[in-house]
Amino acid sequence: MILKFFEHIGQKTTDFFLSIYEAMQFTALCLIHMVQPKSYNPAMRMVLIKQIYFTAVGIIPLFIMMAFLFGSVIIGVVIALATQYNLQSQIGSIIVTFALNEFSPFFTALLISLRSGTAVNTEIAVMNVNKELNTLKEYKIDLIDYLFLPRILSGIVSVTSLSILFAIIMLGSGYIFTLFYMGMDLHTYQTLLANAVGVDNLLILLLKSVAFGFVTMLIPIYSGLKTANAYTAIPISVLNGMVKLFIAIFFIEVLSLVLQSL
């Protein structure tokens, strides 16, 4: 009885580390393909363009609306709190840090995960169950080059560009709130932001967006690839993929906070 208990724990631990090792191996393989020029064949480039269109362009109207709604509310709360605690002198750096470093990449990653991450996970899982991946392999078409790399790159490009758009909208909303709460004119607000924005803020925005974009596509792809051979396994694959993706997004967020506090 006790032996079986320890065997069970041992098996689970081995499986856990083995799955981490496999995931790392897959990540490394994708990164290697990313830097190889031969990966960028015409078919891959065509898929990449389509993926960027579906992930970044198709979402723009909804994204702008969401950015206005959530961005305005959040920045309004931040400005109201800053005013309440007499932090008006720090308002520029508070808005910049909050909009650029924290909220824009995080919110964009969540939105892209919900919209495109689920779609990619389902797509790869369906292709896996239908043996379409095997057909591609039969024709000696590299799955990483043709299927995975365009999706990962589109994730990186989309999350980065939409994060920048979100930050711009959020900073625009910030002006409306500073106008009402502090009676600040546009020129003063612009100067305040220009003085507060540093290279480090832009670098953090870019690095976080790239990291978020990478995992937003990589984890659903990996989850789709690991789908068992049945249609009933597809929802389970999407569910598992999304849980892992959200854990990864929160992990990156926490890691970035820890690194910034050093």
Binding site: P42, A43, M46, Y139, I141
Partner: protein, 118 residues
């Protein structure tokens, strides 16, 4: 369908998409199916899907093409001759086409176009 056909030449011969698709259209035109170029899988009949699979196989570098149980792949196929004639039209590179089928379907293949090997 066209994207599906063009993929082989795009990947293996690094042909630009338009050029690879032009090859695909040319092959579809040979068998009067150019109208299915922009169709998706669910918009095509099993016969059209079969021809697309054959064209895709013709685009690959392999010299031998195996077709397994065409009567199963193509729904309600009564006569194989029209299909064989189109295979001859498509086979510009003179590849070896081997059809594997059940003995019960043997009578369908009797004619000039096929060498039956048991």
């Amino acid at each position: 369908m066209l994207e599906n056909i063009a993929l082989i030449k795009e990947v293996h011969e690094l042909l630009p998409t338009q050029e690879a698709q032009a090859h695909g259209i040319e092959s579809l035109r040979l068998i009067d199916l150019e109208h299915i170029g922009l169709n998706r899988l669910n918009q095509c009949t099993s016969l059209e899907v079969f021809y697309v699979m054959v064209i895709r196989a013709m685009m690959a570098k392999e010299e031998v093409i195996f077709i397994v149980t065409p009567f199963f792949l193509i729904k309600k196929l009564a006569r194989i001759e029209p299909v064989l004639e189109k295979l001859v039209l498509l086979n510009k590179e003179q590849k070896n086409i081997i059809i594997l089928d059940n003995l019960t379907n043997q009578s369908h293949y009797k004619g000039d176009l096929c060498n039956i090997i048991k």
